[in-house]
């Protein structure tokens, strides 16, 4: 015990010396008497969870896990412990719009002059540079138990690269779990410039990936020869795209309707991309095609039908019903088909609305444990972070929530939230 205290002391000392570069680790906690739902493995009725140095040190039965002397004991009798929830697609903290790149802006003219027939798209953009974390937004998500969010850029077609954040404070750097995470692509159009139509966008995406392949091949050949070959012209746009076609870094396609899912699958197949499909709230309309592919699905809890849907153009009544009954059954239908997916909060910026929609999805037939997995271990696996996130296991990041009542139930309240081992104060 002495030794441990000493160790803890030195860790504390080092941390205070190097300043707030890493997240504040907080004291050591022993959460006891809680029911523990680790997600991986069976629940523990009365257990102990030790949190130290931002990590889960131990999880187990009350009589099997010793409570360290230096620990602050939290009696969680009547509470249930779950891993913090993960939302794999959000646009949080992006209140400040990206500088306009439409027609008339200096960027637009410069880009157009540089490369003809190419819109001012920004695959090189790391959204981390743009985020402005706010306590209100963090509170709103922590209150429903979401501790981890993927923040993606939200402008343009080839939008840039996302960052994965632990909601541990208002300072951006200590929040970062992974940066960059993936390149984000949306099937939308450019304003006032090419491509102004969806079919143009699809052609533009194809041409961009073709060009990236060609650019990579030319650069590789030049690197081999050097002498006697004219150097290929430098192109920052393609330079940024190359790792996604050659090294197969992940690409996330935002699929706003069923057709976008098919479009994305075609492009993924064509360029052998390592891709994930996001949004996908019309995935239920063709489960067969999703059954055939191993490509991960990041399904949004936003139930508003897309404008292309036959449910939106035939009167307000049908549209309302679609939003209240048909689209909430998306996840339930996928689960019934045995299709794996993660749930996201994409399109919803308010925690309360997210919770309401999780409950609606469960009412529509999504089993509660599937909902939990889709917000914990499944996204952790999709992000390649199943060693660090997604369950309550020793050695994992201490993102833990304590709830009064079973998670997602109507009257359940999130009582306490630990992010990176720090007890959050609302």
């Amino acid at each position: 015990m002495h030794k441990k205290a000493y160790l803890f002391g030195s860790v504390f000392l080092i941390l205070s010396l190097i300043g707030p570069a890493a997240a504040d680790v907080g004291p050591t906690y022993a959460v006891k008497n809680a029911k523990i739902v680790p997600v991986i493995g069976p629940p523990i009725d009365k257990g102990v969870l030790i949190i130290r140095n931002g990590l889960i040190e131990a999880v187990g039965l009350l009589d099997k896990v010793a409570i360290p002397e230096d620990a602050e004991v939290i009696d969680a009798d009547g509470l249930i412990a779950y891993p913090g929830l993960i939302s794999t697609h959000t646009n949080l903290f992006l209140e400040v719009a990206r500088p306009a790149t439409g027609q008339g802006s200096p960027e637009f003219t410069a880009q157009q002059a540089l490369v003809q027939d190419r819109p001012a798209e920004t695959p090189e953009l790391c959204v981390f540079k743009l985020i402005k974390p706010s306590k209100a937004a963090i509170d709103s998500f922590l209150k429903i138990g979401v501790t981890t969010v993927l923040v993606a850029p939200n402008r343009g077609i080839i939008q840039g690269q996302s960052v994965l954040l632990n909601l541990n404070g208002e300072k951006a750097e200590p929040m970062v779990l992974k940066n960059p995470v993936a390149l984000h692509i949306n099937f939308t159009t450019a304003r006032g410039t090419y491509p102004s139509s969806l079919m143009g966008t699809i052609a533009f995406l194809r041409q961009s990936f073709l060009d990236a392949e060609y650019y990579a091949a030319s650069q590789a050949q030049y690197a081999k020869i050097l002498k006697g070959m004219k150097r290929p012209e430098y192109d920052p746009f393609l330079e940024a795209l190359v790792p996604f076609v050659t090294e197969k870094k992940p690409v996330i396609f935002q699929c706003n309707n069923l057709e976008d899912i098919k479009r994305a699958l075609k492009i993924i197949e064509e360029f052998k991309l390592n891709a994930l499909l996001s949004h996908a709230n019309e995935a239920w309309r063709d489960a067969a095609i999703l059954k055939k592919t191993p490509i991960p699905l990041l399904v949004t809890l936003d139930f508003r039908p897309p404008n292309s849907s036959q449910y939106v153009n035939q009167g307000a009544d049908l549209r309302k019903k679609a939003e209240a009954e048909i689209y909430p059954a998306n996840a339930a239908n996928l689960a019934k088909e045995g299709i794996k997916f993660a749930l996201t909060t994409f399109g919803l910026n308010d925690g309360a609305a997210v919770l309401k929609n999780i409950q609606a999805a469960i009412r529509a037939g999504l089993p509660k444990d599937e909902a939990l997995r889709a917000l914990t271990i499944q996204p952790a696996q999709y992000l390649g972070l199943s060693q660090q996130l997604g369950s309550l296991e020793p050695g994992k990041i201490a993102n833990v929530i304590l709830t009064k009542g079973a998670l997602f139930d109507e009257k359940t309240q999130v009582d306490k939230v630990f992010v990176d081992g720090v007890l959050w104060k609302f």
């Binding site: 139509s197 079919m199 060609y214 030319s218 057709e259």
Partner: protein, 442 residues
């Protein structure tokens, strides 16, 4: 289709538009005792037509119904081939890539929207197939797509792969107007702003495509050498040029929007110079002035029936355009270019009997076998013949009568539109929609 969805759909206030037909791959049906207008093989006065697994098996009299087959009584009714619209823009998520003048890489086949209720509208007018096209904002727009009106089926099942691959061109005012900045913040002004510019830019692009092909030919030749040159790198693959190469190599054919005779002839000149095939001219209001040239060059036209002079460049359009050209040996089709006119193409076709003196069968050809030939699908649809696909429309009167109405539309042996059933469903939907409101808002 899950139950909730179905329930909801039926509730759709007074519309009941989205009730989807039950589908089994390649249907079978026996239509009995109808007047069968085959279009290509004459009329069977009181005949039967048997479709097995989507294909027409037999046309004749007193055909015995195979066991378990759906039998439709067409007594007193007219059975015709499914109507084909040679030029429309329905069922698409976007029609024009208008930001630039030359966009043959932008393929409407990539943005088919099977949810578009216009498909059902088309079915209600006996239409079973439509050539749904890129818009006319650009001198070179993009590839078009041929769709079957299989309402309720996924988008990929609508596409007719047997059809010719066609590329949309456009001349005249639409291109010019699209080149101007009309709204503040709208697209920037664009070349070309004139008809001569339109011709010049198409020529310029064709020259580019020719050079592009040459570059690839050179590469392929070098690559085929026993010892290819060291460090041989292929040329950059350019989707825009690839599409034009396909045109130059005959893998695609041109469909060109034009109004005036002069621009049409100029375009045919370009086709001759670069060796590409013009399958048809769209709208072609002044085709009657160059009917001999069109017939000689085997260039078809796809036109409106009688809506002439609605803008300056249509000022010399005449209602006799279609009929006159057809008599001169030009392959003519009547198109809708619209999600509304598509449901009354038979009315439009019949106008050629008054303006142009076509026979009933010639008039009917303009919306059946002729568009089928223009789309390269005459071997599978366009007329009622044994072996062709069972795409059929049933009318209560002769389809060229002013009093006619489409009663039923069948695609590959499956009923996709049944007026009687549809009206019944609509009535029930209206009743159901009324019911919950009684206790509530009223």
């Amino acid at each position: 289709m899950n139950k909730i969805v179905k329930k909801l759909l039926i509730r759709a206030i007074g519309l009941a538009l989205v009730v989807l037909p039950a589908y089994t791959a390649g249907g079978s049906v026996l239509i009995k005792n109808g007047t069968i207008l085959t279009v290509t093989k004459g009329v069977v006065a009181k005949g039967d037509l048997l479709v097995i697994n989507g294909l027409i098996k037999e046309i004749g009299e007193n055909i015995a119904a195979p066991k378990g087959i759906k039998v439709i009584d067409a007594s007193g009714k007219y059975v015709i081939p499914g109507i084909i619209d040679s030029h429309t823009h329905i069922a698409l998520a976007g029609t024009n890539e208008g930001s630039e003048a030359i966009t043959p890489e932008a393929d409407v086949g990539e943005v088919v929207n099977a949810d578009d209720v216009s498909i059902l509208t088309a079915l209600s007018g006996g239409v079973t197939m439509a050539h749904t096209m890129h818009g006319s904002a650009n001198p070179i727009g993009g590839p078009n797509v041929v769709l079957k009106m299989k309402w309720g089926k996924p988008s990929e099942d609508l596409i007719v792969h047997e059809a010719l691959k066609t590329l949309k061109f456009a001349l005249g005012e639409n291109v010019k107007q699209s080149s101007r900045t009309i709204t503040v913040g709208g697209p920037p002004p664009r070349y070309p702003q004139t008809r001569m510019g339109t011709n010049a830019i198409i020529r310029r692009e064709m020259l580019k495509a020719r050079a592009y092909r040459k570059e690839w030919d050179r590469y392929n030749k070098l690559k085929a050498f026993k010892t290819p040159p060291k460090n041989l790198l292929p040329p950059r693959k350019d989707l825009r040029m690839e599409a034009l190469s396909d045109l130059l190599e005959g893998k695609m054919v041109a469909r060109c929007h034009d109004y005036q005779a002069t621009e049409a002839l100029e375009f045919l000149g370009l086709a001759k110079e670069f060796g590409f095939k013009v399958q048809a001219l769209e709208h072609a209001w002044e085709a009657y002035k160059i009917a001999d040239e069109l017939a000689a060059a085997k260039v078809g036209i796809s036109v409106f029936a009688d809506s002439w002079a609605y803008k300056m460049e249509a000022a010399e359009g005449i209602a006799y355009d279609a009929g006159y050209c057809a008599k001169k040996g030009v392959l003519v089709s009547i198109n809708s270019d619209s999600a509304e006119r598509i449901r009354r193409l038979f009315n439009d076709a019949s106008k050629t009997m008054k303006y142009g003196g076509l026979t009933e069968n010639e008039a009917l050809s303009l919306i059946t076998i002729n568009p089928a030939i223009q789309l390269g699908v005459e071997k599978i649809v366009g007329s009622l013949e044994v072996g062709k696909q069972g795409d059929i429309a049933i009318f209560n009167e002769h389809p060229m009568s002013a009093y006619t109405r489409c009663e039923m539309t069948i695609i590959e042996g499956d009923v996709y539109f049944d007026r009687a059933q549809y009206l019944k469903d609509r009535e029930e939907a209206a009743k159901k929609a009324e019911a919950p409101k009684k206790g509530g808002r009223s």
